[in-house]
Amino acid sequence: MTYEHLIVERHGPVGWLINDRPEVRNAMNSAMRDEFADAWTELDEDPAVRVIVHTGNGRDFQTGVDVSELASDGIGMERYRQSMEDFDVHFTSWHQGVWKPVITAVNGICCGGGFHWVADADIVIAAGDAQFFDPHTSVGQVVAVEAIGLIKKMPVEAVMRMAFMGKYERMGAQRAYELGMISEIVDPPERLRERAQELGETIAKNSPAAMAATKKALWGALEAGLTDACKQGAEHLVSMWGHPDQTEGPKAFAERREPDWELLK
């Protein structure tokens, strides 16, 4: 599949999804939004892809919805409003039900709607010069879905501070790391993609089926209280019983070799 606003690449077991509108800091217009849905699905359905890395071309990772398009083209605005109202959206891996591990690698600025891909990834790493802020309120908009996603995953005060301070304050990579919003800072910043690839290849050594079931258990836990989350987690755990990887894993370990996992179907 070819894309106008995204680049999809494969490097070994790692699939790459790269925002490619650097001239507008990778802001998302209508066409890009539709392409996201296809790109996530394409990488998810490719059995050779075991891990997905998402990053941006140019100086910045993502700066949210392309407001200039929304404002000038009456159709785009109406369509966006309707899809958010119905929460019928398809631009992140979580929206698309991708159960492969997803690493977001934040280069430069991630602001506003850019947080969708921070909240919805499994692992987030950032270049040392990355900056995070949420300008919604400074332009008379309400931040909702992406902030809710973050609140479920990290200390709430920091998320509210970004929402309330709007464009008047930025959070650096170091603070994001301290808060557990990201788990790694890459310096020098130019090494970000190299490190993301390395991390992806390491994760690709693990059982694809076991990781998919683990992801389902973890994301499911955000929808439920502790005991219910554990009961649902048990279903995902048990779903692996009898899977060839469950014997291959310990066998490879005993024989001191790399496991030969089943590919996801």
Binding site: K152, T214, L218, M240, Q246
Partner: protein, 224 residues
């Protein structure tokens, strides 16, 4: 009560539950699987015990189910499987409904199922030699209860990272403290002493009040 795989005793108001299979990283074999429930019940029902400290002998805190040993004991394996499937496990204080405060003192490696005891404790401290990892997915297993418990109590991204990197990365004690998974890191030599000081302070409080507080905090985690 005598246990084969655990050291259980009390010293004044402090009850101790110590994993005691140091030669196997304190992994849970069939015997420990059964003894854990009995040990928690023993400490819960002993009126002299007000606070419980959970730690391990040797270099490891706890490294999860001893799958190899369990495989040789079909009956124990069946029982463990059933309890996993139905989520009726009786390994941790939370599983067993212990109402007294529990302090986990992580003395070394805490891997896989060992994370149950971190997620399910009320307070957690660690020695500077402690490390945390979740190797499940590296051996074709799913990480569920341990990660779910942790992500309800700490930032999720580092928990997801630990679950998906499996055996290939470890979280240090200092990073675990930054993230609020543990609240204090001390030199190995003084870990038990520090846990004792904390337990002594906690035990100064009214037992009924502590029980209510504990229940209130854990109930709060039951809201989606």
């Amino acid at each position: 009560m005598n246990h084969q795989t655990l050291e259980v005793h009390h010293d004044g108001p402090i009850g101790w539950l110590i994993f005691d299979r140091p030669e196997s990283g304190n992994a849970i074999d069939a015997a420990m699987f059964t003894e854990l429930e009995a040990a928690w019940r023993q400490l819960e029902t002993d009126p002299k015990v007000k606070v419980i400290i959970n730690t391990g002998n040797g270099n490891s805190f706890q490294t999860g189910l001893d799958v190899e040993q369990l495989a040789n004991d079909p009956q124990a394996l069946r029982s463990a499987s059933r309890q996993t499937r139905d989520f009726t496990l009786r390994m941790t204080s939370w599983h067993c409904g212990v109402s007294k405060p529990v302090i986990a003192a992580v003395n070394g490696v805490c891997a896989g199922g060992g994370l149950h005891f971190v997620a399910d404790a009320d307070l957690v401290i660690a020695s500077d030699s402690a490390t945390f990892l979740d190797p499940h997915v590296s051996v074709g297993q799913v990480s569920a209860f341990e990660s779910i418990g942790l992500l309800k109590k700490a930032p999720m991204e580092p928990v997801s990272r630990m679950a998906l990197l499996g055996a290939h990365e470890r979280l240090s004690a200092l990073r675990a403290r930054q993230l609020g998974i543990v609240s204090e890191v001390v030199p190995s030599a003084v870990l038990r002493q520090r846990a004792t000081e904390m337990a002594t302070a906690v035990a100064e409080h009214d037992s009924g009040l502590l029980r209510e507080l504990k229940q209130m905090h854990w109930n709060a985690l039951e809201v989606p």
